[in-house]
């Protein structure tokens, strides 16, 4: 790959996040190539050294990219992780595709009792944010969720922490009220 193409790929990734490329595209320098589970294309994720990543900002006490509702969004990502990462000993990418209902169920467990409408609203808002940033891939029409290419940027020690988190969280099967057919939105407990 030429230097120009590499620079272009980096600029693209900077402006639009993880790149979806057709199958067979070589990965530019410093980028992580994540094959799609379907074999149809791959993702390119820029992987900067640890000393230059976003987490350095937190260490230095500098403001990172602004994230609205950081706690709910983090909880939603954790819920999606709990559902899409079937086996925490396996690699995190690509995970499995799940319906949104169990993710929302786990999210509801984690956030505690809330108004059904507020719960739904914060979940959708979080899904949009995470989908836009490449943490999750949310297929709005099919209403399915899977992990986004950015999750591959978590390093080994991060993954250890995440495994602990995974084990501490209620699974999609144990969440009450989730015995309904997967792929359907959760039925509100009581009609408003």
């Amino acid at each position: 790959m030429t230097a120009g193409a590499t620079a272009l790929a980096w600029a693209r990734a900077r402006a639009s996040g993880p790149l979806r490329v057709p199958a067979g595209t070589p990965a530019p320098d410093g980028m992580l190539r994540l094959p799609e589970p379907s074999g149809d294309g791959a993702w390119l994720v820029p992987q900067v050294p640890e000393s230059a990543g976003t987490r350095v900002l937190a260490e230095m006490g500098l403001a990172g990219p602004l994230l609205e509702q950081p706690n709910d969004t983090a909880r939603l990502l954790a819920a999606a992780l709990r559902c899409c990462w079937e086996d925490p000993l396996a690699p995190i990418w690509p995970g499995v595709t799940v319906a949104s209902a169990p993710v929302l169920g786990v999210f509801g467990e984690v956030t505690g009792p809330r108004d059904e409408l507020a719960h739904r609203r914060s979940a959708v808002a979080g899904l949009r944010r995470l989908d836009q940033a490449g943490w999750l891939i949310w297929d709005e029409t099919a209403d399915t969720i899977r992990l986004g290419p950015r999750v591959a940027l978590w390093n080994a020690s991060d993954l250890t922490t995440l495994r602990q988190l995974w084990r501490s969280m209620p699974g999609p099967a144990s969440v009450p009220g989730q015995t309904s057919v997967p792929g359907q939105a959760p039925v509100p407990e009581q009609a408003p």
Partner: protein
């Protein structure tokens, strides 16, 4: 159909010019044009006449042709046009039903629409060219030159006055709205100067009139500078891009297609939204989820208070135990005790004070089953310590269970 602000502004401009021009003609207030739609009605009536042919139209026919407008409006406008002579009877006799239209009102309409579109500047340019032609013509006389220079002086004085009054007094929005109609024309001034030069060269006797024209032009130039200065100054404080009002930017944002809108930001690169999720932070978020918000503001404390490390968390518990112990010591097996007795037992005031503080604390602590009630009066003992005591009683509340 939703109209943009630009459209409304355009209509308002037409209306303003129309009113100004017709103010000379209108004798009664309700016969002034009050809404831009009426211009369309007029135009429709006039075009109905244009299409009618040589025998003219009856009022009913006009109404029928203009049936897309409300009938009452059409007949009212018809009356107004009749009053002003824009529409008149084909033959001047009673019971004549056919009318014909004059061409002048339609010319006026066209002219007004053009002035409104171009702000009257192109008309001013044409006027200047015409005046220049007039004064350069071989047949022109001194009287023509004088009249020409006087007309131009009038025009520039009017513009300059309007602009300078506005630049002094009007608010910026109004200034902005009208500025385009009035200013910004070096060629306008240079053309007027060309007329001036020609006149002065051909008829040196018109020196005085030419001086007035020069003064008028200078006033116009000053007014332009003042208005521009004010607008630029305001643009600097509002950080408005260019001198366009915010509404225009808003309607641009609403009406422009994607390419044009995107072209504004062609030279900018935005980073993709890339928040980082630290697993530790996620764990904390998950653990704190489901609990009500526990972050509370600490109560204000005087500066230089005790080290916040041995904070209030450990304090109350220890205090509670100490208080309970003290009070139980005082009560013993009894359920109540007189405050006077307790006070008198204490060896000195310091000790009594300490006990009193503990009892008060016990009374106020909702978790401790003690209450303190005070009686009336004072019991004084000259030699005692303390020398006076208010009678009171400490009661252990019976456990309801």
């Amino acid at each position: 159909m939703q109209q943009g602000l630009d459209d409304l502004a355009g209509e308002a401009a037409v209306l303003r010019v129309y009113r100004q021009a017709f103010a000379v003609l209108a004798r009664e207030a309700e016969k002034m044009i009050l809404s831009p739609q009426l211009l369309d009605v007029d135009e429709a009536i006039l075009s109905a006449f244009a299409a009618s042919g040589s025998e003219g139209l009856t009022e009913e026919q006009v109404r029928n042709t203009c049936r897309k407008f409300p009938e009452a409006t059409v007949s009212r406008r018809f009356e107004v046009l009749k009053t002003y002579g824009a529409v008149s009877k084909v033959f001047e006799r009673p019971n004549e039903r056919y009318y014909r239209a004059a061409f002048a009102p339609y010319i006026m309409l066209l002219f007004l629409r053009r002035i409104a579109e171009r702000g009257g500047q192109s008309e001013l340019h044409q006027l200047l060219s015409m005046e220049h032609e007039n004064v350069s013509a071989a047949t022109a006389t001194e009287a023509d030159g004088r009249a020409s220079v006087e007309r131009l002086t009038q025009v520039f004085r009017l513009i300059a006055n309007e602009l300078s009054i506005m630049s002094l007094g009007a608010d910026v929005a109004q200034l902005r709205e009208n500025a385009q109609l009035l200013w910004g024309n070096e060629p306008l001034i240079s053309r007027a100067e060309a007329v001036h030069a020609t006149v002065l060269q051909r008829w040196p006797a018109l020196d005085r009139e030419c001086q007035w024209l020069r003064a008028g032009l200078a006033a116009y130039r000053d007014a332009i500078d003042a208005a521009a200065g004010r607008l630029i100054e305001r643009a600097g404080t509002t950080r408005a891009l260019g001198l366009l009002p915010a509404e225009e930017w808003r309607s641009f944002a609403r009406t422009a297609d994607t390419e044009r809108l995107g072209a504004v930001l062609d030279t900018f690169v935005f980073d993709a939204p890339a928040p980082w999720f630290d697993p530790q932070v996620m764990t904390e978020a998950v653990e704190s989820g489901g609990r009500p918000d526990t972050a509370r503001m600490p109560p204000p404390r005087p500066a230089g208070d005790t080290d916040p490390a041995d904070g209030p968390e450990s304090g109350p518990v220890v205090d509670q135990d100490a208080i309970r112990r003290t009070v139980e010591d005082l009560l013993g097996t009894e359920n109540s005790v007189e405050i006077e007795d307790v006070m008198r037992v204490a060896p000195d005031w310091e000790a009594a004070r300490r006990v009193l503080a503990q009892l008060t604390a016990a009374h106020h602590d909702p978790e401790l089953p003690y209450s303190l009630s005070w009686g009336e009066g004072l019991s004084v003992a000259e030699s005692g310590s303390p020398a006076w005591v208010t009678p009171g009683r400490l009661v252990r509340q019976q456990d309801p269970s």
